[in-house]
């Protein structure tokens, strides 16, 4: 199993790591039994994600996808951020080993969960906008 140079770069020096006390949207997906948990913090101003941070308990791929995904949505309007797919993240990382593809799903989900949380805090029902966030079990624990 080999990670691309890009993955290793993001793993070794991940961007946007940490907590964010003043976030206005927080999403957490995965569970420890499955092996990985991702927590995403966003700060939204005028429907734009002005800042983002993450915490990840998971493998190198999980950490690298978190880092890359946060890079990709930082400064983007929510509508654009919602379009981010795990495929796009994987491509931006120059690919992932097949057994690690599931880890990238988590980042996509964590962003959606954070945005949903943001809408909820604004009193807006996120479901029509964000859609259902599938349970971790469904996404990769097969």
């Amino acid at each position: 199993m080999m990670y691309s140079a890009k993955v290793m770069e993001h793993f070794a020096s991940p961007h946007n790591v940490g907590e964010m006390p003043d976030a206005n949207g927080v999403g957490e997906v995965g569970n420890q039994k499955c092996g990985d948990i991702m927590k995403m913090y966003i700060k939204v101003e005028n429907n734009v994600i002005v800042d983002v941070k993450f915490l990840t308990f998971g493998c190198g791929a999980a950490i690298a996808t978190s880092s890359m995904a946060t890079d990709l949505i930082k400064g983007q309007p929510l509508s654009e951020a919602l379009k981010l797919t795990n495929k796009a993240v994987v491509e931006a990382l120059d690919g992932l080993p097949a057994v690690k593809l599931h880890c990238s799903v988590l980042a996509e989900q964590a962003i959606k969960a954070a945005i949903a949380d943001y809408y909820r805090r604004q009193g807006i029902d996120p479901t029509p906008i964000v859609g259902e966030i599938e349970d971790c079990e469904a996404c990769h624990c097969h």
């Binding site: 790591v17 420890q32 092996g35 991702m38 308990f57 998971g58 080993p97």
Partner: protein, 387 residues
């Protein structure tokens, strides 16, 4: 990378210089087929006989009780399937093993279940030991075989083999032990310990990968596993893995001769590692300290995941391994760590460091300097960690 500290000797070891030197002639000029009648064939045959003698001597067996195989896994497959299928003809279709065996044993037992055998998987205690009385109680009229590993590959616990051997001998049940991790670290005496069959593998003792041996006590009959030519006394077909067998012989001799000194040296290094790693808060040692391989350190760090830990260690020039599921790309973390009662989360954050003959105190000091920093760093980015 400036520094390279190899602390994964339970995964595989570096071929020793003496072993390599012993092998080279058989990879160059002495290429005869050991079954051939002419000069270079006879020489090859003699070289294999010599290696067989060395392997036998190291475990107090007779030369004709040693059969060379392609790896430790083949030895396990042969011993277990060979004994089971042979004894099934006599109505014995029950096997006893433990839940924390190596996959070479577990998956073999599972495939025998599909063939109609019944397998009892004994649990182990929280320290990582099989209880001899559990073995005794599990033995039935139709028990063909007991197979319990000599020492566990992940947590290094040395099992009460002599006691289990005695029980099996008394009850007239065949006893096999996978000694792949114990060889070279523990002095083994197949006679005193009543071992009927024993598996070993070259690459754990500074011989190359892809060669192993099976000891089968004289008088014990098992079915063949690899059908073919008349090699290995008609019991294992296939042109002999000449150079690697010569290497295995040399490695067994080296391991056997230097065992006590090596063990004494490594025990000190091991304890230094354990004692200092346990100073990191929210950390536990997996496997008992008492009957433990001199080579094995296995520590769980709460709040972090093993693959990330290994990758960061690698970036610092340290090679180790983990019970993390992420490392293997599978879902469940190590069945061994789960067997001794660890939760999934903490099992994920485990690190195995395994020492070998070539490790020095400097290696240990370097590891002790790097690991706490790396753990701290991963904990800082973990959503499940709070001080």
């Amino acid at each position: 990378m400036d520094r390279f500290v190899y602390l994964d000797n339970s995964a595989t070891t570096k071929v020793s210089e003496r072993v390599f030197e012993a092998m080279v002639p058989y990879l160059t000029e002495h290429y005869g087929n050991p079954s051939s009648i002419y000069g270079i064939g006879r020489e090859a045959h003699a070289a294999i006989d010599e290696a067989r003698e060395k392997v036998a001597k190291a475990i107090n067996a007779k030369s004709r009780e040693i059969y060379f195989t392609g790896c430790g896994t083949e030895s396990d497959n042969w011993a277990i399937k060979g004994a089971a299928r042979h004894l099934a003809k006599k109505g014995k279709k029950h096997i006893i093993t433990s839940v924390f065996e190596h996959h070479a044993v577990l998956h073999t037992c599972q495939s025998l279940e599909k063939e109609g055998f019944e397998v009892t998987y004994l649990t182990v205690d929280s320290e990582g030991y099989v209880s001899p009385s559990d073995v005794e109680n599990a033995i039935r009229e139709d028990t063909a075989l007991v197979t319990i590993m000599y020492a566990n590959n992940e947590i290094g616990t040395i099992q009460p083999i002599a006691e289990i051997g005695k029980i099996c001998r008394d009850k007239k049940v065949l006893f096999h032990t996978d000694a792949v991790q114990a060889i070279g670290n523990v002095r083994i005496d197949v006679q005193a310990e009543n071992i009927d069959m024993l598996s070993l593998s070259g690459h754990k003792i500074h011989a190359p990968k892809g060669v192993g041996a099976l000891y089968v006590r004289q008088g014990v009959v098992i079915d063949n596993f690899m059908d073919g030519g008349a090699q290995e006394n008609n019991k294992r077909g296939g042109t002999e893995n000449l150079a690697s067998i010569v290497g295995l012989g040399a490695a067994m001799e080296e391991a056997h001769n230097g065992l006590e000194e090596k063990a004494a040296k490594l025990t000190i290094l091991r304890d230094k590692l354990i004692d200092n790693l346990l100073k990191i808060p929210h950390t536990r040692l997996n496997g008992g300290r008492e009957n433990r391989l001199c080579t094995n350190v296995n520590i769980s760090f709460e709040g972090i995941e093993g693959e990330g830990l290994l990758l960061l260690l690698d970036l610092n020039g340290i090679a180790g391994s983990s019970g993390s599921a992420c490392t293997s790309g599978s879902l469940d973390p190590s069945h061994v760590l789960l067997a001794i009662g660890l939760e999934h989360g903490i099992a994920h954050g485990s690190l195995r460091l395994s020492l070998g003959r070539y490790n020095t105190e400097e290696d240990v000091d370097y590891a002790l300097q790097v690991i706490p920093q790396v753990v701290e760093r991963l904990r800082a980015m973990s959503p499940v960690w709070q001080e």
